[in-house]
């Protein structure tokens, strides 16, 4: 299958005062459409930075990132924002739901950027919430939900606009084992049933085991991959 994500000689350097810190060092990587990839490595290895660059929320210092044929480094901020809304579904460690919005409204949030009508949006939100098994909790606020349920709402928000790629940054990092398993099963379903490409950063070997491919990073270098 063709690569949906092609990263070529990617370098990311942060400047702290006069000091330059190389976070990613000449990383090249291809991720095939419909793949489930885990990025692992110790803290500071650059895995989250790589994920952020793939997701278009950070920019490379050098190198090229082609996603579905688009060189995202060449896009302006506004173009990049529109591109993200169409192609990327975000799943964060701490869910990042808006506390004053219900589960329904949180899931509807990315759909506000689409030309869908109110009824179409409603249908889409209900479908997304039913996929994550929370159709009966759509009027609940985040504080009325458990951590696992909040993460499921966050996943519903990510899938609502039907993006091609899901980026998940430690999606089970803040959950107990049972909830974590539920979330990982859900991600697997998205990958297998809906053919979505998933790139997940994790510290958890059990979470990484669900991925097809595990890439290890260390001090900004990509270590040769291990086939699971």
């Amino acid at each position: 299958m063709s690569a949906i994500i092609t990263i070529s000689h990617l370098t990311k350097i942060y400047k702290r005062d006069k000091q330059e810190i190389t976070v990613l060092n000449d990383v090249s990587l291809d991720i095939v459409q419909g793949d489930f990839v885990a990025l692992m490595g110790p803290s500071g290895s650059g895995k989250t930075t790589l994920l952020n660059i793939i997701a278009g929320i950070d920019r490379p210092t050098n190198g090229e990132v082609l996603i579905a044929g688009t060189d995202i480094g060449a896009l302006s901020e506004t173009e990049l924002a529109k591109w993200r809304s169409r192609h990327i579904g975000f799943i964060f460690q701490f869910y990042n739901l808006i506390p004053v919005l219900t589960a329904f409204e949180n899931v509807e949030l990315p759909l506000m950027l689409t030309p869908l009508s109110k009824s179409e949006r409603r249908r889409q939100v209900e479908l997304a919430l039913s996929v994550v098994g929370l159709a009966d909790r759509m009027d609940h606020y985040p504080k009325q939900l458990s951590g696992g349920q909040e993460q499921r709402v966050a996943i519903a928000r990510a899938i609502a606009s039907d993006p091609d790629i899901f980026v998940a940054d430690e999606p089970t990092g803040d959950l107990d084992r049972v909830s974590a398993e539920e979330i990982l099963t859900l991600l697997e379903r998205l990958n297998k049933e809906f053919g979505k490409t998933i790139v997940m950063v994790t510290h958890d070997p059990q979470a990484a085991n669900r991925a097809h491919i595990v890439h290890h990073l260390e001090k900004g270098d990509l270590i040769p991959q291990v086939q699971s």
Partner: protein
Amino acid sequence: MSMTKLIIKNSFRHTLRVLLTIVGISVAVIAFGMLRTVVTAWNSGVAASSPNRLVVRQAVSFIFPLPYAYKEKIAGIPGVTTVSWLNWFGGTYIDKDQFFARQACDPETIFTLYPEFKLTSSEISAFRSERNACIVGIETAKRYGLKVGDIMNMEGDIYPGSWQFTVRGIYTPRSKTDDATQMFFHWEYLNERMKQDDASSADQVGYYVVKINDASKSAEISQKIDELFKNSPAETKTETEGQFQQGFVSSSGAIIGAINIMSYLIIGIILLVLCNTMIMTSRERTREYAVLKSLGFTGGHLFAFIAGEALTISLLGAGIGIALLIPIVQGFESLLPRGWFPVFIIASSTYVLAGSSALIVGVIAAIIPLYRALTMRIVDGLRFTG
């Protein structure tokens, strides 16, 4: 869910803090409106003055009279179309606390000169034909329950003795800013009494009011009038009615200036209160703004969210403040001695100023949070822990 719903939900996220901010803005708007209303009331005479009316008074001081004989000479100056005259009567009606302007006037010319005091032609005829007739403003008539035919008894002070007047007309003002509290009676009635009781006060005029045909020539005509009486025992000072009224107001100029400055300082306070709330709010929501940006919301969306929230709070505060201002001004007026301000109303400019200030304050208060949200890198925002 619409953007508006999201803005409103966000605006009331911290209910107590937002309510306190709204109350703060409302109180500030009320204070602003009150001060502006006092300034408006103070300046109402100036605002109501006509540019083609000149006031001729004694050069030394307004309290000194002018000879009645000046009337013909003033009337002879080119550009002068009507000459009228008035004497401030003072006096006591009921008791010393009952204040409203009482003036002796020329019944033939007074209401030609002051078309802003509206009377029927029958009222004017009745007033002109009866020597002790008087005309009162509708506010004074309402205050004392006066109607046409009623008798008003007064004790004179500047012009001593007991005076009796019959109400022959009640004028209504042309606009809300015109004084509806005055009382006018015949100058001839006053003069005849003076001839009998105090000859030195007879044939004396408090001040002349002169109508001219071209307002642009007011300075030139004023100069001609004053030159006419130069080196006489009663030199004149002629000025436009606006300047004449301004002369009264300017004696309190420092106070008015201070009130004006205070009213604008209050706008500054509103700004600080709202800025504080918005900066706290945006700081707490740094991570949310990062999430919104990551979901694809652009700078324009963030502008709508942040400015919308600031405007919701500021306009709500201003709306409540303005709504409460009306009964508060009415209550304040009722506490003032009657007649203290002949015109005490909230000027439409006060509403416009309060509303537009709230609008501007809302936009300004959004600038710092907006700048922060727009310049924040998403990855930094997602790491923000408060």
